[in-house]
């Protein structure tokens, strides 16, 4: 076995272990450890991605001395490695972009706890990405949930704690349903390993046995993960959680945590149930409808919002709706579009959060639009970055948002029954997006010479500006050279089967 094949295992264990180490380190050292770990894991994932692209096939890695149905396993393919790499990049940039705000938001003595949470969150995300075992997935979903809750309420104002409670309640409902579905699945197939379950499910379907419990189990797992990833009717906790937590937390939560669950759902669809069987159920129609509703209602709530960060948070609801709409189409193209949208949305949304904090900083810390007037003149880098993020969200060509919309539309054109609905809602949602994002952009570029706030120059925020530039580049790269990435996603999905 090639040494590179150890990398997924190393990255999971490294991030877990670094969490433990951070518990005895002072805050400064914990920060360094955190950064180094993210970089190292990112590098490992990049190498792994290259290796997998060159070999062209996925591999299975035993976690222990025992092979498939007895021991735990993890599995790495192109999509997994790519996701891990992408998660590391976004996480590093989000952490670096919010680092200067941390001392003001979190009590000094709790900084190292913050880094522990981030490390454990990363490890759980990696485990969700790589795992090949449903129960392991459940355990790491719980780690993910708890550490996300920690990240929400580490800034202890009333709103975040309330949001954390709401988040926990919704998440626990979700985990309960997920676990119940899992148990039924285990009862029917006798396995917990994804590949074995898939085999048994195929047999059951072929023999026509246990149809109803099978469908119920799949439905329960799907609903559980939908609840956890804040699909439209279950999004009540989201605006408070994203709007008031620390800036890095908001960026990480919106761009990574919900995406981890969505990626798990993709894995379940492909690796546990089988894409064709999943599409033959009515579940995709439900996902489709809720996705469409999310797209519209999320945007409408965002328009009504008067607080920039809550507005961005509501826009997340709409974007998650896009992803589920892609699932709901039930075609390979829709799936590719959804996965691309995961990437594009992660890059854009964290950019928006990080840029928004730069703007609010030069407006006396207020999130209200009225105070943000002219903020882009006071912090030019953040203003430019916010504009880029908005343009990407609106779907202007050259930025990542356009490509994902293009992919969605192309996918929609191929599905006869759902074509019109998805295209029309896509259009409405795009225009609504344009309304609230452009409103904000105009607001921050409106001239307010008598604003009582001081501007900030490049010299005072070098690291921050560099992060913003990286984010903008990431967006443009996704928007301009999307073809290799789309190919890679296709290849990765092919490896799933």
């Amino acid at each position: 076995m090639n040494f590179i094949c150890n990398f997924p295992f190393f990255s999971i264990l490294l991030s877990l272990f670094s969490g433990t180490i951070c518990s005895v380190l002072p805050a400064k050292a914990a920060k360094v450890v955190n950064r180094v770990v993210i970089i190292v894991i990112g590098l490992m994932s990049a190498v792994l991605l290259l290796y997998l692209l060159s070999t062209g096939e996925s591999f299975i890695y035993w976690m222990g001395h025992f092979p498939a149905p007895w021991g735990n396993e993890i599995r790495a393919g192109v999509l997994e490695a790519g996701m891990a790499l992408f998660f590391c990049i976004i996480m590093y940039l989000s952490m670096a972009g919010g680092a200067h705000k941390l001392p003001g938001e979190v009590v000094e003595s709790k900084h190292n706890l913050y880094y522990i949470l981030v490390n454990l969150l990363l490890s759980s995300l990696l485990a969700l990405v790589y795992t090949n075992d449903m129960f392991t997935a459940y355990v790491f979903v719980e780690i993910n949930t708890i550490s996300a809750c920690g990240l929400i309420m580490i800034r202890q104002v009333g709103r975040t704690i309330e949001a954390a409670v709401r988040y926990m309640i919704m998440s626990l409902l979700g985990s309960g349903l997920l676990l119940f579905g899992l148990c039924i699945m285990y009862d029917l197939t006798g396995h917990l390993l994804m590949s074995n379950i898939k085999e048994s499910v195929g047999l059951l379907i072929a023999n026509g046995e246990y149809q109803i419990p099978l469908i119920v189990s799949v439905a329960l797992m799907c609903i559980g993960l939908c609840i956890k990833s804040a699909l439209f009717p279950f999004h009540a906790w989201l605006p408070d959680a994203y709007g008031y937590s620390t800036v890095s937390s908001a960026a990480i939560l919106s761009s990574l945590v919900s995406k981890g669950y969505i990626f798990l759902l993709i894995k379940i669809i492909y690796r546990v149930i089988g894409f064709d069987i999943f599409n033959s159920t009515r579940i995709i129609d439900v996902l489709f409808v809720f996705g469409l509703m999310g797209m519209i209602f999320g945007s409408l709530s965002a328009i009504k919002e008067n607080d920039i960060r809550r507005m961005i948070a509501f826009s997340s609801v709409a974007q998650i709706g896009y992803i589920y709409m892609g699932f709901g189409m039930g075609t390979q193209a829709g799936m590719v579009a959804s996965i691309f949208h995961i990437l594009s949305h992660a890059a854009t949304k964290s950019l928006l959060f990080i840029a928004a904090i730069g703007l609010t900083d030069v407006s006396g810390g207020s999130h209200k639009f009225i105070d943000l007037t002219g903020a882009a003149y006071r912090n030019k880098w953040a203003g430019a970055a916010f504009t880029v993020g908005s343009l990407s969200m609106v779907g202007i060509p050259l930025f990542s948002g356009f490509i994902s919309k293009l992919l969605f539309a192309q996918a929609a054109v191929q599905v006869e029954g759902k074509m019109l609905a998805s295209l029309i809602v896509l259009g409405i949602s795009t225009v609504l997006n344009a309304v609230y994002f452009m409103k904000t952009v105009i607001r921050i570029y409106a001239y307010a010479p008598d604003a009582p706030y001081k501007g900030i120059t490049f010299r005072d925020m070098k690291a921050y500006a560099v992060v913003l530039v990286c984010f903008i580049l990431l967006n443009v790269i996704l928007g301009v050279s999307s073809q290799p990435i789309v190919d890679m996603i296709g290849q990765g999905l092919a490896m799933f089967a």
């Binding site: 202007i396 060509p397 999307s482």
Partner: protein, 494 residues
């Protein structure tokens, strides 16, 4: 290749440079060095114009990069593009030089010039775009970069007008994008053709009816930019609040992007596919309604710039009508009218700007005796008005002649006669809303107080562009043949 690229990239980069270099000073900083700013902007405009004129003779197209699989960003110069960029290359620098004087006392000059140059570059790219996806890209960017010009003065009405402009344009662009998805599936490639159409034969036989719907949606969507009837409302809102040179560019050049888009869409579907279908009928109805309604509204409008804006709505639909008739004669008329209307409307708006700049008067009834105060400006205004009405030696006459001729020869039932009649009525209305200004301007009547009269002629920097544009509008009326040759090439697909 490099000429095309530089004609696009140079103004964009120059605009960005101006935006970054001469940023609006914060309170307490020293103000922008105005002279170097205008010098810089002027040089950029001239250099860009030279680039564009050179690029007009480029032959080969090239692909810049691939946006996604089989979606190249592709540039090519063809005859239609040449005509539109010819318009841009004359009007934009003229209005630009006009604005050096006009914008003297406004704030954020650097922002204005920066976006002005951006618009120039993006419009060039739009003219030279070789396929639909490139076109769409720059169509969106044109909206984005022209919006700051609309809301330049930052008042609440201006911002609302800018948002309205944005909202209408995006809705239209999305409707068009909706069609592009289908074209992408039903065409071999999205590269432009002129008349034959790029649809696969199998696609036409299989879902021809559906493709007609798509065509109609695309025409409506791009028609928004050209101010076609149901979605024309943004024009009269956006024009009065924008600075006069910006409205000139908006009205003379940017709305023409909608026309260009319509020509491209027609080319993609092919006139044979659309001729005689309900799409043509509906489109003709819409354009004629717009022609008549625009004139009528302009006739009732007291604010000069708003009146001109309604006039733009009406005149643009002349062009669209010519395209909707779908034969060579009317096509020639349309393209001629693109040029004629571009020069005339730019001249009219600049005149209006000069009047506002010197006297501060915006409403028509305040402008009695204005011809005595600013004779050069008002003479230009009068000549341009005659052109817009279509009095013989001017450009407007030739283009309308071709339009009417094309319509009469088209053989479409009802519309072949109805069209010219409505055009005639509208021309009369145009006379009705433009000439009184000149008449009252030069002949203020017996009770006019000549004692308070003072010479208020603006400086050369303002009158020169106006004169040039007026002169050009007459010139294409007198010597239309060179242009007709180019247009003929365009119509036959070279």
């Amino acid at each position: 290749m490099y000429l095309i690229l530089s004609s696009i990239l140079f103004p964009i980069l120059a605009g960005l440079f101006l935006l970054v270099r001469y940023r609006t000073p914060l309170s307490g900083e020293k103000p922008v060095d105005r002279q170097s700013l205008t010098a810089m902007a002027g040089c950029s405009l001239i250099i860009t114009a030279i680039f564009v004129i050179a690029a007009l003779f480029a032959e080969k197209g090239f692909t810049l990069f691939y946006l996604a699989q089989s979606l190249p960003i592709y540039f090519r110069v063809d005859s239609v593009g040449r005509i539109f960029s010819l318009l841009a290359v004359i009007v934009i620098p003229c209005a630009g030089f006009f604005s050096f004087e006009y914008m003297k006392h406004e704030e954020h000059e650097s922002r204005y010039y920066g976006f002005y140059l951006l618009v120039f570059g993006v419009f060039n790219a739009l003219c030279f775009a070789g396929n639909l996806i490139t076109f769409y890209l720059f169509f969106e960017l044109l909206t984005m970069s022209s919006m700051p010009l609309v809301l330049h003065n930052g008042s609440k009405e201006a911002v609302m007008a800018g948002l309205k402009y944005l909202f209408y344009s995006l809705c239209g662009a999305y409707a068009a994008l909706f069609g592009i998805y289908f074209l992408y599936r039903n065409c071999g490639s999205l590269t432009f053709t002129v008349v034959d159409g790029a649809l696969r034969a199998s696609a036409i036989t299989e879902h021809g009816g559906f493709l007609l719907v798509v065509a109609f949606v695309m025409l409506l969507g791009f028609g928004v930019k050209a101010g076609m009837f149901p979605m024309h409302a943004w024009l009269p809102t956006a024009h009065p609040v924008a600075p006069a040179p910006a409205s000139a560019v908006l009205s003379a050049v940017i709305v023409k992007a909608g026309v260009l888009a319509t020509i491209r869409v027609l080319g993609m579907f092919g006139t044979d596919f659309l001729k005689g279908t309900w799409v043509q009928t509906a489109w003709l109805c819409l354009t004629l309604v717009t022609v008549f309604m625009g004139s009528l509204l302009a006739y009732r409008e007291p604010v000069l710039k708003k009146r001109l804006a309604y006039s733009t709505v009406s005149q643009l639909s002349y062009i669209l009508f010519g395209l909707a008739v779908m034969n060579d004669t009317s096509f020639t008329g349309s393209l001629l009218h693109v040029l004629a209307h571009g020069f005339i409307k730019a001249a009219l708006f600049l005149c209006a700007g000069a009047i506002i700049y010197r006297t501060g008067k915006t409403r028509v009834e305040e402008m009695r005796g204005i011809g005595k105060e600013m004779p050069v400006t008002m003479w230009c205004f009068t000549i341009a008005s005659l052109g817009l009405i279509g009095i013989p030696p001017t450009g407007g006459f030739i283009s309308k002649w071709f339009l009417a001729l094309g319509s009469l020869n088209s053989g479409i039932p009802v519309f072949d006669v109805l069209g010219p009649v409505i055009l005639l009525v509208s021309a009369l209305l145009t006379a009705g809303y433009l000439l009184p200004l000149s008449i009252h301007g030069f002949f203020p009547g017996a009770d006019y107080d000549y004692g308070s009269l003072q010479k208020r002629e603006p400086c050369k920097l303002m009158t020169m562009p106006i004169s040039i544009l007026t002169f050009l509008s007459v010139l294409i009326g007198v010597f239309p043949f060179l242009i007709i040759v180019v247009i003929y090439l365009a119509a036959t697909g070279r």
